[in-house]
């Protein structure tokens, strides 16, 4: 999912208030069209990696520090890479185990498989968020990008 996909997206009343990473992540999971009703919600985990953590939102939050009333309390909640995990859990009512990494995508699937193999979950939503705003790109010397992708792993049913 990219920013272009967000234009027509409607995933509940709160969707527009989420930060960019959370919106992209939510959209990527929704695009999987998983029927979570087929699973026990407490047996579905979420495993997410964010390439640059929440730094894009951090920059936005801190830019508002001198505004009237100070920085935004709403935005502060998104200055955690795991905010997207929380939004996915809330939207799809998934109460299973959570993992959230900062760094490359390759870590997600092996860790999700491990959650399932160890019996901690029967399925796991895997999400990668790669969000670097133009402002952040200048600071960390990486190119701007805004994408998220997701897959779903589940235990093989007998």
């Amino acid at each position: 999912m990219t920013e272009a996909d967000l234009a027509d997206a409607r995933l509940g009343q709160r969707f527009g208030r989420l930060d960019l990473s959370s919106r992209l992540a939510l959209l990527a999971v929704a695009a999987l069209k998983i029927n979570f009703d087929e699973f026990a919600r407490d047996r579905i985990g979420i495993c997410l990696a964010a390439s640059a953590g929440s730094l894009t939102t951090d920059v936005n939050f801190w830019q508002g520090r001198n505004g009237i009333g100070g920085p935004s309390p709403t935005l502060f909640a998104y200055t955690l890479p795991s905010a997207a995990v929380g939004e996915i859990a809330i939207h799809f009512k998934l109460t299973g185990p959570n993992l959230c990494f900062v760094g490359a995508e390759k870590i997600i699937v092996p860790e999700a498989m491990d959650l399932i193999r160890r019996g901690e979950a029967d399925g796991c939503v895997c999400v990668f968020c790669d969000v670097i705003s133009a402002e952040l790109a200048e600071i960390i010397s990486l190119p701007p990008i805004a994408t998220a992708r997701a897959c779903f792993l589940q235990r093989v049913r007998d």
């Binding site: 919600r41 407490d42 985990g45 979420i46 964010a50 640059a52 953590g53 929440s54 730094l55 951090d58 920059v59 939050f61 801190w62 830019q63 520090r65 100070g70 920085p71 935004s72 309390p73 502060f76 909640a77 200055t79 955690l80 890479p81 795991s82 905010a83 995990v85 929380g86 939004e87 859990a89 809330i90 799809f92 009512k93 998934l94 109460t95 299973g96 185990p97 959570n98 993992l99 959230c100 990494f101 900062v102 760094g103 490359a104 870590i107 491990d114 160890r118 901690e120 600071i139 960390i140």
Partner: protein, 383 residues
């Protein structure tokens, strides 16, 4: 049968000083390290009472590095004999942090100079990579950022890396430094207690921001000898309820506790002590109390919390609070709950206000919860 993973060494730097002994003394005396810091004066910030590490230990350009590096040095020194025969490729590192070196962002916004390293350490995964290089860990490196459950999750991930055979030893390090960024954020949420954090107190009204570096060395049990404490089990869940508020019924945290008990093959009555998350916020302490009653009934094990001593150290909280459990287990005492005066209605009956000595702790439960509805429960067990 999974190979047990044990704690071979710990290191800590916090508001009560540098080194395990300073923490041990503070725990036994039930003292608080919270103090006013001018740079967080109201009205810009809700309170200037914070859990700050003495300035002499902090590199102001890269505080996250200085805090975590100190803790790692202590932990690695404590475990030196065990670590030295293990090849570097078999030593991993897991970093727990919520904001890494966020102070660099503050400095850049004010057009203050920042070194390339300080700028690089804005990125938590690069901070982790540099810790691994500096401390001879060329095995797997992971960076966990799961709000205030990061620390317990990092310990669990460290144990998993060893149990999966990916490493023989893992350095787990938790860190977050005090920053205007975080204190302004909690101020915006009106989540700071102007009088200082008072976990489970009837008059509690918020947390106190804190900073710390905390580290532990995990190894396969057969590498260590003597009295050993193992990672017994971990449970994780999500409330799926609200981004910044906990569930009102405690069911998510109870689910995480059940997961940890199952993983450790324990029943609730086997738990000798619970070290609570205990943020001092009204809703979180009430939720945690409900979760404990759900699992343990009205007469549960002793419960206490340490955020009135250290403040809320975010990414370091789970690691430093697990170390507190280790000190309690090895020192045969129950930590108290600093700054608690009058226990609120509905809080655990067996809330420990002052430390109790001459107690034996075999199975200890450590809890953390965080923004995004995250819950974590870790069991530590004497082998």
């Amino acid at each position: 049968m999974r190979e047990p993973v044990v704690i071979a060494g710990c290191g800590v730097i916090s508001a009560v000083g540098c080194g395990l002994e300073s923490l041990r003394v503070a725990l036994r005396e039930n003292s608080s390290g919270l103090r006013p810091l001018e740079k967080f004066n109201p009205p810009r910030f809700q309170s200037n009472l914070v859990g700050a590490v003495p300035d002499s230990f902090i590199n102001i350009e890269n505080p996250a590095w200085s805090l975590a590096n100190e803790a790692l040095q202590q932990a690695c020194a404590a475990a030196q004999k065990i670590l030295s025969p293990i090849p570097a490729t078999r030593i991993g590192l897991v970093l727990s942090t919520t904001k890494a070196n966020i102070t660099t962002l503050e400095r850049l916004a004010e057009n203050q100079p920042g070194s390339e390293t300080a700028r690089r350490h804005l990125q938590a995964d690069l901070l982790a990579a540099d810790f691994a290089t500096a401390h001879g860990a060329s095995g797997p490196v992971q960076t966990i950022s799961l709000a205030c459950v990061s620390g317990l999750t990092a310990i669990s991930q460290g144990a998993k890396l060893i149990q999966r055979g990916d490493a023989d030893a893992v350095l787990v390090v938790g860190v977050d430094a005090l920053s205007a960024f975080v204190v302004a954020g909690f101020t915006a949420l009106k989540a700071i207690d102007p009088l200082g954090c008072r976990p489970f107190d009837a008059a509690r009204c918020g947390l106190s921001p804190g900073e710390a570096g905390a580290a532990m060395v995990l190894v396969r049990a057969d590498f260590a000898t003597g009295d050993r404490i193992k990672i017994g089990g971990f449970g994780s869940s999500n409330d799926a309820n609200h981004l910044t508020g906990p569930s009102r019924d405690g069911s998510g945290l109870a689910q995480a506790i059940r997961g940890a008990l199952t993983a450790a093959k324990l029943l609730p009555h086997d738990v000798d002590y619970v070290h609570a998350h205990g943020t001092g916020t009204s809703y979180n302490d009430a939720m945690e109390s409900l979760a404990l009653r759900t699992i343990f009934g009205d007469e549960g094990p002793p419960v206490s919390g340490s955020k009135g001593m250290l403040g809320h150290t975010l990414g370091a909280a789970g690691v430093i609070e697990a170390i507190i459990c280790v000190l309690a287990m090895s020192g045969n005492f129950l930590p108290g709950t600093p700054r608690l005066e009058t226990a609120a209605e509905g809080t655990p009956k067996n809330l420990v206000r002052e430390p109790r000595f001459e107690v034996q702790l075999k199975n200890v439960l450590k809890l953390n919860t965080g923004f995004g509805g995250m819950n974590g429960a870790l069991i530590l067990q004497k082998l």
